[in-house]
Amino acid sequence: MRQLILDLLPEAPPSLDNFVAGSNAEALTGLAAWLAPTNRESLFLLWGEAGAGKSHLLQASQCAYSDARRDPDLSTVEPQNDCHAVDHVEALDAAGQIALFNLINRLRASGGRLLAAASAPPRRLALREDLRTRLGSGLVYRLLPLSDAEKLAALGEQARARGLVLPPEAFSYLFLRAPRDMRSLAALLTAIDRYSLEQKRPITLPLLREVLQTSLDI
């Protein structure tokens, strides 16, 4: 028998606070300046490999967020917003590409903004040409994934934010055994949090081992 837990653990929604910059100083400074009211550029595109933090930054930007992976035709986009964040533009379908094309035109005309994220730089995106060139017309920055040391720091930060105390050796333990992109590591931390609450046990290496076994089984 397994005790279920109440849904009251703190969620850590992506914010600019809990983003670890790593070697992305240039991109982040660019983004911070772009998000400022004084900015005149309407389009900002981040590209980089999965787990580099693109979705995190888009969700933290406070722009109306849409994810083309879940919503490839962008049917959920509410055009009246002034700032839009569209994630995974490479996953847009034909209708979604037209929708984004229109959105960009509208935002340009009305002084609104688009923050986009893609898996590749605009030149290598397999999108319709009029959209692809538009995406390449604004500020384009590459987001580099964190180094291992930076990931450790980021994970420690997230644990602290959850009010968790992990033994110092826990991080290197996890690192050797779990997928090392930030997204998986953060998901693992959530699983550890939940499991420790379920078991009413402090977080120890044996507990981590149990979590890893169950989460890797899935």
């Binding site: 600019l16 606070d17 660019g30 005309a109 040409e129």
Partner: protein, 465 residues
């Protein structure tokens, strides 16, 4: 008020490139008195800046504080509303209350007289014209010379039969929209009473749908027929939207009969638009059809220099040439690349130079700028015309094969550094005169045959990436 903080700011201003200083340090505010015994409290406008400063600059601030007060000073950073920073990212919710309005289109200042913004908004609502797209800031070159001349003519005397409609076509990102807006803006400048309306084909379609749903076709028709100038952008978006095409057909007839100007832009020439009724295509050819081609290198250089000038930056020829050389296919990405170079220079606080441009664009250009080879020209051309690569080498002389073969040879000559004989070799061991003939034939046909010219154009874009 706070002399330490003032001196601290000026110290950072010296130590950091302007963009970094403006982004991270300037938004900070000192709270309360400068009492070194109790420590200093700095307010950051948002968590992002707070975290960043804590990680990278806090130690330096404490160092400066200790120097200033001659005793160790502790500095704490907290989030604070009072930090009425120019870079307030988290304030408000951009989703609802617009932090940025039409003001950004024309002006760099964030705070703007509200009535002016309103005014701009309402005039924008009426015409949908973007005021910054004018003939003055359009860079002219061989690629858009004809289109520009025709557009100017239309702007001076709208409604003349020889230019009605004016049909402007060309690939993505070459400045069609700019031209279309420039026409509208100039007409209004001459005669503010003219009723001008810019409409993107997708928005026109939405209007039709709305009229259909709200059963308000009368209002819709009356509105569009009341215009003096209709500027319709990206008409290729009408494909297979039959009801929209029909509505537009009537608007077109009504306007042209009453000698009202119609300007249409498209990504291809009329006969090549897919999913469009013949009667519309015929009408699109009534007036003048002009093409915008991808800009040649000199023009791209000129565009870059002009854009840089607008940003208040002087761009060296060699930098402009480097960027222009690597971004060939369209103006939009050219602008994106320039923005990147400017931002990179601002971030690092370094002058723009060729080396800096190379560093700034390495992610953008880098691996992507693959070598164009005869081999991938052959493959691309074969794919495009839906024939086999082997056909290009073969002795077949049917027209379906000959033209693509000639186009492929023309592309090989223009995009690679191969000689005529080596191109001949690469096409099944043909003589160099065959290649020479092919190149001349295509050069000649491009000026006469719209369809062929379009095909070459698309292939150029694809190959140049």
């Amino acid at each position: 008020m706070s002399s330490f903080w003032t001196s601290c700011l000026s110290q950072f201003e010296q130590e950091l490139p302007p963009q970094q200083f403006n982004t991270w340090i300037r938004p900070l505010r000192l709270e309360g008195e400068e009492d070194c015994a109790r420590g200093l409290r700095l307010l950051a406008p948002n968590g992002f800046i707070l975290k960043w400063v804590k990680e990278r600059y806090l130690a330096r601030i404490e160092e400066l504080g200790s120097e200033y007060f001659s005793v160790p000073v502790s500095v704490t950073l907290t989030l604070g509303e009072r930090a009425a920073a120019p870079l307030n990212m988290t304030s408000g919710s951009p989703g609802k209350a617009p932090p940025v309005t039409g003001a950004t289109v024309t002006s760099g200042t964030a705070v703007k007289n509200a009535s002016l913004v309103d005014q701009q908004r309402s005039s924008y609502e009426k015409t949908r014209l973007i005021p910054t797209f004018t003939f003055d800031n359009l860079v002219v070159g061989k690629a858009n010379d004809l289109a520009r001349a025709a557009s100017r003519q239309v702007a001076i005397s709208p409604g003349e039969a020889t230019y009605n409609p004016l049909f402007i076509y060309g690939g993505a990102g070459l400045g069609k929209t700019h031209l279309v807006h420039a026409i509208g803006n100039q007409i209004l400048e001459h005669d503010p009473d003219k009723v001008v309306r810019y409409v993107h084909a997708e928005d026109y379609y939405s209007d039709v749908v709305r009229a259909y749903q709200q059963k308000s076709f009368d209002v819709f028709k009356r509105y569009y027929r009341s215009l003096d100038v209709l500027l319709l952008d990206d008409v290729q978006f009408f494909n297979n939207k039959n009801r929209t095409q029909e509505e537009f057909f009537y608007v077109f007839n009504a306007l042209s009969e009453s000698k009202k100007q119609i300007v249409i832009s498209c990504d291809t020439y009329p006969k090549n638009i897919s999913g469009l009724e013949d009667r519309l295509i015929t009408r699109f050819d009534w007036g003048l059809t002009v093409q915008i081609e991808p800009p040649e290198t000199e023009m791209r250089v000129a565009i870059l220099k002009k854009k840089a000038e607008v940003e208040g930056v002087a761009l060296d020829d060699e930098v402009a040439f480097y960027v222009a050389k690597h971004l060939r296919s369209n103006v939009r990405e050219l602008e994106g690349a320039l923005k990147k170079v400017l931002a990179y220079s601002a971030f690092h606080g370094r002058q723009i130079s060729l080396d800096l441009a190379k560093e700034a664009l390495k992610d953008l250009i880098g691996s992507v700028n693959r070598q164009i080879t005869v081999e991938n020209i052959q493959k691309t051309v074969a794919d495009y015309f839906k024939i086999k690569v082997a056909d290009l080498f073969s002795k077949k002389r049917t027209r379906v094969i000959v033209r693509p073969r000639q186009i492929a040879m023309w592309l090989a000559k223009n995009l690679t550094s191969q000689s005529y004989p080596s191109i001949g070799d690469a096409f099944g061991g043909r003589d160099h005169t065959t290649v020479l003939h092919a190149v001349r034939t295509i050069d000649d046909l491009r000026t006469k045959d719209n369809e062929l010219n379009h095909n070459v154009h698309v292939l150029l874009q694809v190959l140049k990436g």
